[in-house]
Amino acid sequence: MKELSVSELGKRILQLIVSLFILLCVTFVIGRVLPADPVGAIVGELADPATLAAMRSKLGLDLPLYQQFFVYLTGLVHGDFGNAILTGNPVAADMKLAFPATLELATLAVIISTFLGVPLGLIAALFRDTFIDKFIRVIALVGHSIPVFWFGIVGLVIFYAGLNWAGGPGRVDVFYEGMVTPQTGLLLVDSLLQGETEIFWNALSHIILPALILAYAAMAYITRMTRSFTLEQLNQDYVIAARAKGVRPMRTLTGHILPNIAVQLITVLAISYGGLLEGAVVTEIVFSWPGIGQYMTNALMIGDMNAVLAGTIIIGFVFMLLNFLADVAYALLDPRTREATI
């Protein structure tokens, strides 16, 4: 059984590598083949032919395509995404600063959405077809249909400008900016590690609104899936048996049903996490959140494809990695799938 699951794991890893390779092919095509004039985009339309030619050979655009692709791949393997036009820094260096901000936001959001979505889904399933179920369904549907970037704007207008409950745009107040030396890059963690509780609370007040808004969008999917997983279990014999022998409803839920849907939920959470990373990209600009999303959006405005593609590759990679981990977790944790592979 062990050996078989190892070969299964190998298959998954191979699939991850193939997916990643294809993602790189796609980004290469997007960045180097599709734009009509990548050189003109960099040096400007009024540059003289000599500058254009110099830039072409500097970028390696005079090489045949397959060589360009090879050069591109070698660069990526060495962590070289090219330079960003806006900051002048290597994109990789900018990304190192921006990624933790996005990660922090998406992680907090996935935690919140799990703690809201799973209980709501359970409740909806237990009170199936009652008013409560319908109410939860509407809440989830709205979350599923709302444009997050717009919801962010509305949230800022109400809770920051109107009520002043939440911190405004950015990760902390300007006053505190740069006062915590980045260790993990996650401001909430760093400020606690360095005992700066004041900064921690300030950072929390800034992150809570965007995190809640992202969480609401993700919650819809989690609630819905939890509900349908639970409904599937409720009709199973073991639940009926547990009830018949007098196990309390709450205990049936936590002791019998939850462990059975936990594995399926992990997949759902991983997919939500990936979706949140994507959602963060359009939301960050609203909150001036200095993450990958804002970085990519600013790069988009000036047509800086290096930066846009680096963001695409990084988020794509994390996205695929999450899918992969979910698959592996599923195979490892669920005895039913384990037996199926024997």
Partner: protein, 300 residues
Amino acid sequence: MSDAVHTDILVRPPGIASRLAASFRTALRKLGHEPLGLAGFVILALLCLVAIFAPLLAPFDPITQDLGNALQAPSWTHMAGTDEFGRDILSRLIYGTRITIQTVLSVSVIVGPLGLIIGVVAGYFGGRTDALLMRATDIVLSFPSLILALAFAAALGAGLNTAIIAISLTGWPPIARLARAEALVVRNTDYVAAARLYGASPLRILFRYIAPMCIPSVIVRLTLNMAGIILTAASLGFLGLGAQPPAPEWGAMISSGRKFMLDNWWVAVMPGLAILITSLAFNIAGDALRDILDPRHARS
């Protein structure tokens, strides 16, 4: 005379039109018991009417600027207020339905047949064809679709058509998976066996006997996808990658309204409400459609 036995008619499944009509009648009957689903369909129907009759319904021109009237709060003349160029926001929203519906339909028209063909071919032929096509589907499914659409639109140059292509490129896998699952069931039915027996070519079996059976569920799936398409399109528009100004694209309207959000909330809020209502209507309608047409889902 005995030739008559071998005609197509005996093994031909009911036509798409008659089956769709039958499903539609059942759907209408069951919708009566689902007020929420009914509401979704009514809103969608209204939106289509608004898109068709936009010039008659819009009180003002959506493009002409009137700087003297800039940033007026909602009032009886300007029900949704005016934007920074003095354009009536309600009129722009009304014209914007055209862009939204055009986007949704275009993407569906590309993604539907593409996914259907890939799925049906994979499901019917099986073996290596199936493995190869489904691997490709899985890989595209594991791509972050919004980010990829964003990169595509950025490379091809901003515009409504590139946005439509960009969304379509990553939109077909769910359809393909669904069509494959359906094809797997249908290919083992007696009438397909009969068709094979009297010598119908694989292509003929595929497109006359199997693909049509998958169409109703593909349509349901497309309806469910439409809400997502609207949100992705709005996101691209918000980032400046969709229809270009002065076109009244809802996402782009939110983006330009963002600058005034603290003092003139309606400029950004109104288009967002339009997006929310539309995508909500598609979600509700898609849900109801699935519950009604697919008895397997009705229980959950």
